[in-house]
Symmetry: C2
């Protein structure tokens, strides 16, 4: 009973996968990460557990594909207006984590991979996928708007923290600030210090 | 927690609690969040599961007390040197999350409380405990070193993100930047922009 090769000519297989993935997302939102087991997905989707196991070797793999389907979520073509470009970028980056199912799965996936010791989504999403885009936006910025003394990776790491904190601590005690405040902070990190001897970097 | 009042006169209870808490921290580090069950703690500590349940109603409560025992981890007395004060503060704040057991538990606890819909440690730790301290340090900074136009809460939120990202994504693909880089970023957010009308109040 080997699995027949799947391809564009086999819509039936795709539909089974789609049903399992959709059910996974629904369960994550409705019942949370722990309750989203293969068995629960089977019951919720009507797809047999054995058919799910033929496609994904574990519930973690299934949840990952359902919530972080690829590694290129952020695609903003810089127009050369730093504030506008950065604003679109931050919103797109945050958007990839703000889908309800992704939001419900992120902490659980991080916890799982911390234990397993391997780096996987959403870590890859956070760290790897958006960094080149971020650098591109800075390169497209008009001269004089980005301090050459600041390290883009340092600023990106701050943005990554802001995204993670917004994703993981949402709905907690304190209300969240508007996204525009985060954009302002990133621009503040990048701005040149006028009247400063050009190479002073982060030092006052 | 139907815990009978503990006091200095009940060393025996304290020792049982201490053994359970220590075993919990050890298990978190050695086997991870999921494997740290009441039963595993009982076996590892030699304390009966029933005695553990008398003190903590769930494994989550036990893990929380073992890893986030209070809400006042950061205590830095500002000396009025912004860079030094901020550096000590960031290191202390990060330190509260960097104990191996806390590091192993944070993502799991966040995931659990996301599902339960309540805000608890480590959210409280992150959001509540350190914010007043942060404001105190800014108040103690010499005139002209902190831009009055910047909202301290915005800057604190960026710091919170940096701490969370350092705690949760540690040991993942990319190597972490030195803590000093995070301190630099925070100072950069705070610095007045010379020649800028908005920051004029902070100028000498």
């Amino acid at each position: 009973m080997a699995e027949p090769a799947r391809g564009p000519g086999r819509p039936r297989d795709n539909s089974i996968s789609e049903r399992a993935l959709t059910a996974t997302r629904e369960l994550l939102v409705e019942r949370g990460f722990e309750a989203t087991t293969i068995q629960a997905v089977a019951e919720h989707s009507g797809v047999h557990a054995s058919a799910i196991y033929r496609r994904w070797s574990s519930r973690i793999e299934l949840i990952e594909e359902a919530t972080f389907p690829g590694l290129n979520p952020v695609s903003v073509r810089p127009a050369g207006d730093l504030r506008r470009d950065m604003s679109r970028f931050v919103r797109a980056y945050l958007g990839a984590f703000s889908a309800p199912a992704a939001r419900a799965a992120t902490a659980g996936l991080i916890a799982h991979h911390q234990t397993s010791g391997r780096s996987r989504p959403p870590e890859l999403y956070l760290r790897v996928s958006a960094r080149p885009q971020f650098r591109e936006i800075l390169s497209a910025a008009p001269p004089g708007t980005v301090d050459p003394a600041v390290d883009p990776d340092d600023v990106f790491d701050m943005l990554l923290g802001a995204v993670l904190s917004r994703t993981l601590l949402a709905d907690a005690a304190a209300p969240q600030r508007p996204v525009g405040r985060t954009v302002d902070m990133i621009l503040r990190l990048l701005r040149p210090l006028e009247g400063d001897g050009a190479g002073a970097g982060g030092r006052q």
